[in-house]
């Protein structure tokens, strides 16, 4: 009996060996991160699912990054290789949160970037803030990014930064655009019962007070559920009251129903400015000639007067390079996705080391002239936010079909306009 208690049993040996093995695995990431001289970046975007059209330019952007970062980035005197780990959120906010924590805990990324809609940027930033990882996002109006995360305008956040425009900008652009032609100033609203529709129709911070202040009348039948197949009640009311302007924020299928039914019912507004539905060329292709005349907020365009901080290419040259790479027409998210790799280069080039505190200090001090305008987090409306320019555009009949032309630049006069707002024929 005594021999059994004193000599180590087979089980004991295995347990001890397992613990030692586990300990060495746990220790490995720290060793690897400091010895391999590689900066790891987690890139999170909705590559599949309903939001996938925002991410169509990602293969191009990642290929650019691979080429431009081939020789690594010099951080505090040492050259580091750059590895970008791309993760798909499947357009789902829970999945976005999961992939963010995978990137942080398993891949030990040095920085997170991500883009497009609160369903991506909010969970990503929340995970980064929780785990103390530097994070930069864009392509979500700043109010949902900041306030839905319980941001305190006096304190801000420690690890997470964001650049895009806000609701106040879209109100300013729309009303300035509408003032270009004479109308009866009556606006019919298509604001659905979803986070965007509720924010836009908000009685304090949304469109209603701003419209009233600028002398516009409002015909708002109330929030409605999506998807909607039948817009007769809206069309009848807009027609009876004579609304010459239609605005709203609805997805492409619902807008297609509205716009085709308007045609059937003989409703002919002079101006139709609907966000979300008309931002992508494919979504309006089905309207044929009736796509011409629709107007929309324009957050990136080949005629924007900005240049890549990486290559000096103009916005037009980047749009061309994208076309050559993919065979597709540029879309607005292209510029914003490209600006993420500009941020990566800029931040790590200025950081004193790859220590998270040094990286986040470099993000905080950013003053970068990127393809989407100047990114500077010290000049934002709230801490951690930088506003980038927004313009207004109209789809006009061009040589090769309808194309988006910038028609409004009051917020950023350096953006050249390509025409004036024309009433819908």
């Amino acid at each position: 009996m005594s021999s059994q208690t004193t000599s180590p049993s087979r089980r004991r040996v295995l347990q001890a060996g397992g613990a030692a093995a586990a300990a060495s695995v746990l220790a490995a990431p720290a060793v690897r991160a400091s010895s391999a001289n590689t900066i790891k970046i987690g890139y999170v975007a909705p590559a599949s699912g309903p939001l996938a059209l925002f991410s169509e330019s990602d293969p191009f952007v990642l290929a650019q990054a691979k080429k431009l970062f081939a020789n690594g980035i010099k951080v505090g005197g040492t050259t580091y290789a750059v590895e970008i780990i791309y993760k798909d959120t499947q357009s789902d906010s829970n999945r976005a949160s999961d992939v963010a924590s995978e990137l942080i805990l398993n891949d030990n990324v040095d920085m997170l970037v991500g883009a497009s809609t609160p369903a991506t940027t909010v969970p990503l930033a929340d995970q980064a803030e929780l785990n103390g990882v530097p994070c930069v996002t864009n392509d979500t109006p700043w109010q949902p990014w900041f306030f839905s995360r319980k941001g305190d305008p006096t304190k801000g956040f420690q690890w997470t930064y964001h650049y895009f425009w806000g609701l106040e900008d879209i109100i300013a652009v729309y009303t300035s655009m509408w003032s270009q032609i004479a109308t009866n100033k009556l606006v019919g609203a298509l604001w659905p019962n979803d986070p965007d529709g509720n924010a836009w129709s908000d009685a304090q911070h949304g469109f209603p007070p701003a419209l009233a202040q600028k002398g516009y009348g409002l015909d708002d039948l109330g929030r409605f559920p999506l998807p909607a197949d039948n817009f007769t009640s809206f069309i009848t009311d807009f027609k009876n009251k004579g609304a010459e302007i239609v605005t709203g924020v609805i997805p492409p299928p619902d807008f297609a129903n509205f716009w085709n039914q308007s045609g059937q019912q003989g409703y002919k507004p002079k101006i139709v400015t609907v966000a979300k539905a008309t931002e992508f060329p494919e979504a309006i292709a089905g309207f044929g000639g009736r796509a011409a005349g629709l107007s929309v907020d324009t957050w990136w365009h080949p005629t924007f007067p900005f240049h890549s901080s990486l290559t000096g290419q103009s916005c037009a040259e980047i749009a061309q390079a994208y076309h050559a790479f993919s065979g597709k027409t540029w879309t607005m998210p292209l510029g914003y996705r490209y600006s993420l790799i500009e941020m990566i280069k800029d931040v790590f080039s200025r950081a004193a080391s790859t220590d998270p505190n040094d990286v986040v200090a470099a993000i905080r001090a950013t003053n970068l002239n990127s393809v989407v305008g100047t990114i500077n987090f010290n000049k934002g409306p709230v801490p951690n936010v930088s506003k980038t320019p927004l313009a207004g555009g109209q789809w006009k009949q061009g040589a090769g079909g309808v194309e988006l032309v910038v028609i409004e630049n009051s917020l950023e006069p350096s953006i050249p306009v390509g025409g004036k707002l024309a009433p819908i024929a």
Partner: protein, 290 residues
Amino acid sequence: MADWINTILQGILTGGLYALLAAGLSLAFGVMRVINIAHGDFAVLAGFIAIALNQWLGLTPVESLLVAMPLMAALGYVLQRFVLNRALGNDVMRPLMITFGFSIIIQNLLLQGFSADSRSLYAGSFSTASFQFGGQIAAGYLPLTMMLSAVVILAGLQQIFSRTMLGRAFRAASDDPEIVRLMGVDNRHVYGIAMGLALAMVAVAGVFLVMQTTVAPTDGPVHLLYAFESVIIGGLGSLWGTLLGGVILGVAQALGDKFDPGIGTLVGHLTFLFVLAVKPNGLFPKTKDR
């Protein structure tokens, strides 16, 4: 007054689309007792086939429809004969889970092939032109065509069911698949034909859908809901019931919208629940419980 008439008219016409989407669902349930979760995805698939034919081969929307229908019918026969038939039995969950798998496969194949863009089939002025009845009343060519197609398809199907040998086989295979085999009818083949017909009908719905609005690869399940409610309101297996179910749903939603656009969808769902509560088998149930 004209506003109200127009509201009801548009509601009826919306019901035409619901009925068109629901006809194949109703047939598949009536004959095979298969609840096809992928039905909306098959509609989207047919729509994308039509878009591809239109853009790559330059076919007109009508020609694309005529090509898409037999393609979808063949697909339906093959899927039923070689996949779904293997899962038939007393357990309704097995075929249901398989159609759930079809749904995921179709969505992801479409995403691969067409990317995530919303697309539509440009039908020229056809999608915006309308008959004007004076005042505020107008009926668009496209919704009218959808309604007429629904009526013609359902009438034709009704004729097949009540007057042909095939229809007799459908009904017999629905009532008792074991006895029908004793009578020398191969129920697996009959099921294949029924699913082929169901997908040919959903092809019509899908092509009209991409003419009326834009559709993305993941939009299928959204369109399944109202189709399903139409089938249930009308009564399982009843073809005219399905049309009436679609119209009831469309009008209920339109009238709800007229009072407040926030409650239209809700009124539709409440009508559905009301019918379920009063007549749990729907208005005109045709299938025999087994």
